[in-house]
């Protein structure tokens, strides 16, 4: 029998709920991580960096993810989310910094890391010539599971994969959704301590996306699995994650619970669609009662306020007095997109975000 390699106690590191960038938010502890903070973190990165020649994909990333936590890396395409995941799961060597996953250094002890992680990358990676069962059995073999253990896991995973007799068919006959489910099952064959999901719902319809969310939640609730997921869907991060790290241009610009992040830009948001240049209209809101911050782009103003119902009147008057013609004025609670806008001065790249994720129009 192969030697038992149950996870040894990893070195303890201080668990910090850090916030980077100028728009730092308060560092309250994540609700689900309160008890876990005293334990060693499941993932810890300090100054993690990856460059490709002149291009910096990940820039001195600091990250602490507690055991049993669902942590979301949120950012637009090209922000550095996938590169971060590939480094943490030992697929890509960092060019700077240091990281431990499941208590082991990703560079010095990659094999120990691999024994304890499961990974479903953004692009489903399966062998189309194998059947689903063959693929899962091979995964089990590569993780050193005995035959009886593999068969037992297949019983569990059949429920997860939920594709009936198709498991006996070659993967080349599977639909995209079936492949994604099988890919996730392959990442779970060995009951990993830490699960990496790189944009797990990209390309899925809203119903399927909700199903994935529930499965991720179940893995966390029932098995206590630590899950790091990357997403470009705001609602996904909001719905699933205990804490969210917002990544922009390879840097972690903010981190906290979704609630903390949203509260960091004020209680409410007044959204104004105007005629003329938004940047010029910003000046009109200087010193207006209740206004915490203003971001403008094209013909849109996103105004952070402490109390929306009190502030909306003065805002309308100030814009009118400055001869800014207002087409729409909407009061709403902040979203993570507002947080991102506040932190980076830009919305997410929108083609795959927002509407696709939530089924609702974004401003």
């Amino acid at each position: 029998m192969p030697p038992d390699t149950s996870v040894s106690d990893p070195p303890t590191e201080s668990a910090e709920s850090s916030v980077a960038g100028e728009s730092a938010v308060s560092a309250e502890s994540a609700e689900s991580a309160v008890s876990a903070e005293s334990a060693a973190p499941a993932i810890s990165a300090r100054g993690l960096a990856r460059t490709y020649g002149e291009v910096t994909a990940v820039d001195a990333l600091d990250l602490t993810i507690h055991q049993g936590e669902i942590y979301g890396l949120l950012g637009p395409n090209g922000a550095g989310k996938s590169t971060t995941v590939k480094m943490l799961c030992t697929l890509l060597a960092p060019t700077g910094g240091h990281a431990d996953v499941a208590g082991f250094d990703i560079v010095a002890r990659p094999k120990d890391v691999r024994l304890r992680i499961g990974v479903a990358l953004q692009d489903v990676a399966l062998d189309p010539k194998q059947t689903g069962l063959e693929l899962l059995r091979l995964q089990g073999q590569l993780y050193g599971l005995r035959r009886d253990e593999i068969e037992a896991r297949l019983v569990d995973l059949r429920e997860l994969v939920d594709i009936g007799d198709a498991l006996d068919r070659r993967i080349e006959t599977y639909s995209g959704g079936m492949r994604r489910r099988l890919d996730l099952a392959a990442a779970l064959v060995h009951n990993p301590d830490v699960l990496f999901l790189d944009e797990p719902t990209t390309g899925l319809d809203p119903i399927s996306r909700a199903s994935v969310w529930q499965e991720v939640q179940r893995l966390n609730d029932e098995l206590g699995m630590t899950i790091l997921l990357t997403t470009q869907y705001l609602e996904e991060a909001d719905e699933l994650c205990d804490r969210v790290g917002i990544v922009d241009n390879g840097r972690l610009v903010a981190e906290g619970t979704p609630g903390e992040l949203k509260r960091s830009i004020g209680t409410d948001v007044v959204f104004a669609r105007i005629e003329g240049d938004a940047a010029a209209a910003r000046a009109a809101l200087d010193g207006v009662y209740g206004v915490v911050g203003v971001e403008g782009r094209d013909h849109e103003l996103t105004i952070s306020v402490e109390d929306g119902s009190s502030a909306i009147g003065p805002i309308a008057i100030a814009l009118h007095d400055a001869s800014v013609r207002v087409r729409d004025l909407t009061l709403r609670t902040p979203t993570l997109d507002d947080v991102f806008l506040e932190l980076t001065g830009a919305h997410f790249d929108t083609d795959a975000v927002g509407t696709a994720a939530t089924g609702e129009d974004r401003p």
Partner: protein, 278 residues
């Protein structure tokens, strides 16, 4: 944006004893056999990779006998052209047979990354494929040898000689496959892997493929003297035509070793490069 439909079973479940299953390191042999098993399962599902080489080997075997048998046998006393040509036919059949093309598909599809994410030894990924290659090459020798026996070949070294013949042919196939794996891992490009077939021509045609070496003249004889396949063919032919001539067999193994060291040096360097750049 393309969407696909996914439905998960989200019924609450109680973790079963299987849920406490934990990953553990497996032995090197276990890793190799797991990878080899997958590669061998894929072979019958990928027949287009092995049928053409056998067809080409059998085709040229028959055509060359029809073309050159009388010419050679009438000019060289006691010469058995069918036995002579059998070695060439077998090498035509097994040279270039490998899972390198499948490996490059793995690289492109991302499945290679999935393998790298597991604790499997990196070298086992390569060696596992090669174990499958040796198995397939050995099996491919069988129909060609069967045809040779049907044409009246009589192995001077008997059944053991046949096994030695198959072993040398399979090891040659493996040694040559190293070039394909090197290109597959270095480039990740199927077209580049196909181009490794170009090596096939100098190896198999700038040598005594069709007539005995003493019938070659000028530059071709000189080049054949440097071509390891010349010694491979002589070793194989000695098993069929003249018995256990260890001098010829030893030279065949030496030639194999030279090609093996070069091609495996290249392919393991390519593996390191692919893994390290990550």
């Amino acid at each position: 944006m393309t969407t696909t439909n996914v439905t998960f079973d989200i019924e609450p479940r109680t973790p079963t004893p299987a849920s406490v299953v934990r990953a553990r390191p497996a032995g090197a042999l276990h890793d190799v056999l797991a990878i080899a098993g997958r590669a061998l399962r894929s072979v019958p599902r990928d027949l287009e990779a092995i049928v053409p080489p056998v067809f080409i080997a059998v085709f040229f075997f028959i055509v060359n006998i029809g073309t050159l048998e009388n010419l050679t046998q009438n000019n060289i006393q006691g010469f058995d052209y069918t036995a002579f040509e059998m070695a060439t036919a077998v090498l035509l059949g097994v040279t270039g047979v490998s899972r390198a093309q499948a490996l490059v598909v793995d690289v492109q599809s991302g499945y290679f990354d999935r393998l790298l994410l597991t604790p499997v030894r990196r070298s086992a990924i390569l060696v596992g494929h090669m174990v499958a290659d040796v198995t397939v090459s050995s099996i491919l020798c069988v129909p060609i040898l069967a045809l040779a026996f049907a044409l009246g070949i009589n192995f001077q070294t008997g059944a053991l000689g046949v096994l030695m013949f198959i072993l040398i042919a399979a090891l040659w196939s493996l040694s040559f496959a190293g070039f394909g794996y090197a290109i597959a891992l270095k480039t990740g490009n199927p077209a580049a892997v196909n181009s490794s077939f170009l090596l096939f021509f100098p190896f198999l045609f700038l040598t005594s493929s069709y007539v005995p070496r003493d019938q070659l003249s000028g530059w071709l004889d000189t080049v054949a003297g440097w071509n390891p396949v010349t010694y491979l063919l002589e070793g194989l032919r000695s098993l069929a035509l003249s018995g256990w001539h260890w001098d010829d067999i030893g030279k065949a193994f030496l030639a194999l070793l030279v090609v093996f060291l070069i091609s495996f040096g290249l392919c393991f360097a390519a593996l390191r490069s692919r893994v390290n750049q990550r």
